[in-house]
Symmetry: C2
Subunit: 576 residues, 2 copies
Amino acid sequence: MIRKQVSRYLPVLDWSREYSRAALVDDLLAAAIVTVMLIPQSLAYALLAGLPPEVGLYASLLPLLLYGLLGTSRTMSVGPVAVVSLMTAAAVGGLGLAEPAHILAAAAALALVSGAMLLLLGFLRLGFLANFLSHPVIAGFITASGVLIALSQLRHLTGMNLAGDTLPELLLGLGQLKTEFNLTTALLGGATLLFLFWVRAALAPLLVRMGMAERTAALMAKAGPVVAVVVGAGLAWWLDLAGRGVALVGEVPAALPALAIPQLPMGLWQQLAGPALLIAVIGFVESVSVAQTLAAKRRQRIDPDQELIALGAANLSAGVSQGFPVTGGFSRSVVNFEAGARTPAAGIYTAMGMALAVLFLTPALAYLPKATLAATIVVAVLSLIDLSILWRAWRFARADFIAVSATVVVTLLLGVEWGVSAGVAASLAIYLIKASRPHIAVVGLVPGTAHYRNVDRRPVVTQPHVLSVRVDESLFFANARFLEDRLYQLVAEQPHLRHLILQCSAVNAIDLSALESLEAINERLNASGVRLHLSEVKGPVMDRLQRSDFLDSLTGRVYLSHHQAVTALDEEDFVI
Amino acid sequence: MIRKQVSRYLPVLDWSREYSRAALVDDLLAAAIVTVMLIPQSLAYALLAGLPPEVGLYASLLPLLLYGLLGTSRTMSVGPVAVVSLMTAAAVGGLGLAEPAHILAAAAALALVSGAMLLLLGFLRLGFLANFLSHPVIAGFITASGVLIALSQLRHLTGMNLAGDTLPELLLGLGQLKTEFNLTTALLGGATLLFLFWVRAALAPLLVRMGMAERTAALMAKAGPVVAVVVGAGLAWWLDLAGRGVALVGEVPAALPALAIPQLPMGLWQQLAGPALLIAVIGFVESVSVAQTLAAKRRQRIDPDQELIALGAANLSAGVSQGFPVTGGFSRSVVNFEAGARTPAAGIYTAMGMALAVLFLTPALAYLPKATLAATIVVAVLSLIDLSILWRAWRFARADFIAVSATVVVTLLLGVEWGVSAGVAASLAIYLIKASRPHIAVVGLVPGTAHYRNVDRRPVVTQPHVLSVRVDESLFFANARFLEDRLYQLVAEQPHLRHLILQCSAVNAIDLSALESLEAINERLNASGVRLHLSEVKGPVMDRLQRSDFLDSLTGRVYLSHHQAVTALDEEDFVI
């Protein structure tokens, strides 16, 4: 029992017991491939977040180790990712700091705070709260973020001084073509972009045609950015591109990060709380969906609450080791998966690989042109942009379309910090407004059956003294008065009415407000000489009604089936 | 048509056409009685709001006139009421103004802004939004406000310098008994309280025993405050109570208010927006429930959207005539109703009566002791305090109890401005969390019938290769992943499974997220060799599904009834 409790919080105890030699070899190979891919990625995402390159490397050390020990996904690769890096840039930029040391501390603090929040949510088992972020809203948010990220990289691709967190700001900068435009930078950036697009679109099929196995070809094609980065750094060193005005990554310290709590004034911590929560939620949702997609392929299970703890610990560790917020990234995890990683140990080996890179590769990294990194970012995020969600939502339901387009528009116009909140608010508001105005149908008997259907949809039989009404929603405070109004209106239209039967087959729950409304309806109908009956009341609703005095004061009866009710009331009237 | 449109916005055109001499006499009598009651009330509620007495009188002039022309309730009496006055005190107090002129302007601005908001909601026909304020939350809020109001009057009843907007502040003041305690004031306040309680509890039965008609006796008992006020003012003048340290109302200007937009710095208008919205919503909800209660007694109808417009206009007029926020009051409306008012004209006559009072009665009002007014407030609000709502909610459902107690506790501890928001937030959160974890039951055949019921509640027949599952909730983003998890879990428990049938009789709606989940479930079950079927899909849900590609990719079929599905799948397997 205790062992089970412990291994729930430390999944490593589970999988490490049966760790085989074969798994070790597979994991080491996958780790080597992922490390090679992660080095340029971590530099690029640090650039995107507006931070020095080493911060990206630091964020790829301890977090990978901790996720490897605590995570429930066997193949997910944790580290810096595009959308969270953009959110970090917006959050840290919003503080208006000038001192580089303060900016570093703020980024680390952001990781620390969002890590703490994730841990708290995990220990309280509140992972289900992330469900309120709907699929379409996330899809819209990621698409809009992709657009913003791609545009933000134009700065590095051209040497122009464009900056901004929103579409209007970025476009405004684009309009005022500045003198900083640097031809060499633009040529390098453009060439890298073309190369990367070619690799993505044409390399894998080419390799397959040349006789390579399909999986290997796909993996090779994923190495495009690595080649671009190596060639770019080589050119920069060989042709002295820095002398021609091309911005390079510059000196990267060749040492592992020291462990320390970031030093920041109290007020700034508070200002970071909102963005940290958003980063925590978005990072968690993205990461869990990556993990679940991969787990489903191998019939493995993900525990969302444990994922909160693992991601929380990963971010905490990023926060105390001069990193910035991290989460599970889709493309890198797919590489890890395809490269054959079998257990989270692959992530731990990747962390070791990154540590070696920090210690021995940094002199070479200094020559990396920023334009090359920017090109890898642009190509990576273009796959995030998927406008088809707008079309799918439009075709499916107006409500979903409003939620998605609110997310996209607000993200583009006001920035990432508002986009998600707007999407969640819109989807909740739409849901609540719909629930507050439920579908209420007058039903009648389908001839020759015992079924009752909407009088507006089918030819059915009704009677002048019995009104059958079906409510297609749980009854609660937001729709209780709506029900009252509608019933009074229906009753007023039928002067010969003696019985109203409420068919409750779709009423899944009832609250105190709705009970009070039913009491009012019962009383008021009674005053007009109409008796109120209920039919097909579900177990949980009946349990509630029995806890109140309603059933005692009910002028009519509760029937098991609607047909029973109509038949009984018919006979009763016949007897009278 | 046009006439109908106009009379929708001007109900006065409706009732005035058939205005009879008899109605005139009845309305005049009711107006006279209400005026006599309203004079001390308006002074007392101005005192409660922390404003000079004449503000209360001004708020009882134009607003009554406008509601008379625009309102749909025939008997409601609009004017200053206890809870809204307390909210005004909190809102204006929150601005930290020192200058009396600024305080007056802020109170008027509050009425103006909340009037404008009500008008806007009315023209946009958004009255249904008030439904999100549930009965139990309002009941809790009013009870807690009643406690705060009663305690806040201790200051005037004893002459002590107690102040505060929350229970801790008020109790803290009570603990530090200040030297301001004034024996004469306390004696006067105590005596008035005792007298008013006696009137309320014992006078009406006594009068009936003395041979008076019951309705007249009830009306006479309502006149208690008027007698107290007349006697109090008389004593103050005769015994020179001011000389003994008893605080009097003091000089009240004997002139009608000038019409003017309140002058306030822009920043303060913005600060008033939040409290104004709360006052608008609370005022509207209270007022409509009063109007509906009275209308039901005479089989009349209230139009909530037109009520928004009428109350909006009333508050706007209060704002431009040096008043403060007003709404329909319960006790006064009951008096108007019982006194025989037949049309809104009674309210218009009351406004005229109040104008006469302002012009000719003010010299006498100057002698009114504040302690007497405070006593009338305390007795009035004690009838608002109804702790039974806590007990009712507790007995009915934990969710309702949490919402009510959150409202009560937050109102008492943090003040009126937070109480309602906390209650609404709590009730929405509870509703959403419940909807996000729906009841999902495995069902089986009740032997000898074609009905399927929960296997945990009844002895039913099930099969090893067909799993029947009923979801008791509409499917939407917040519960889509929950459904996925639960189904995967159920399927994993049944190794021989070949068919999963989802009984959708309680699924009233479906959104894009839920559709995506269904697609994922379909695909994943297919990979495990299990086909997915649907049964009893409702019309609106089917319409949605047909707009997507889901039905094409569905591995199973959609059946009209669940029994049909089970029978068909049984036969199919038999053929195989």
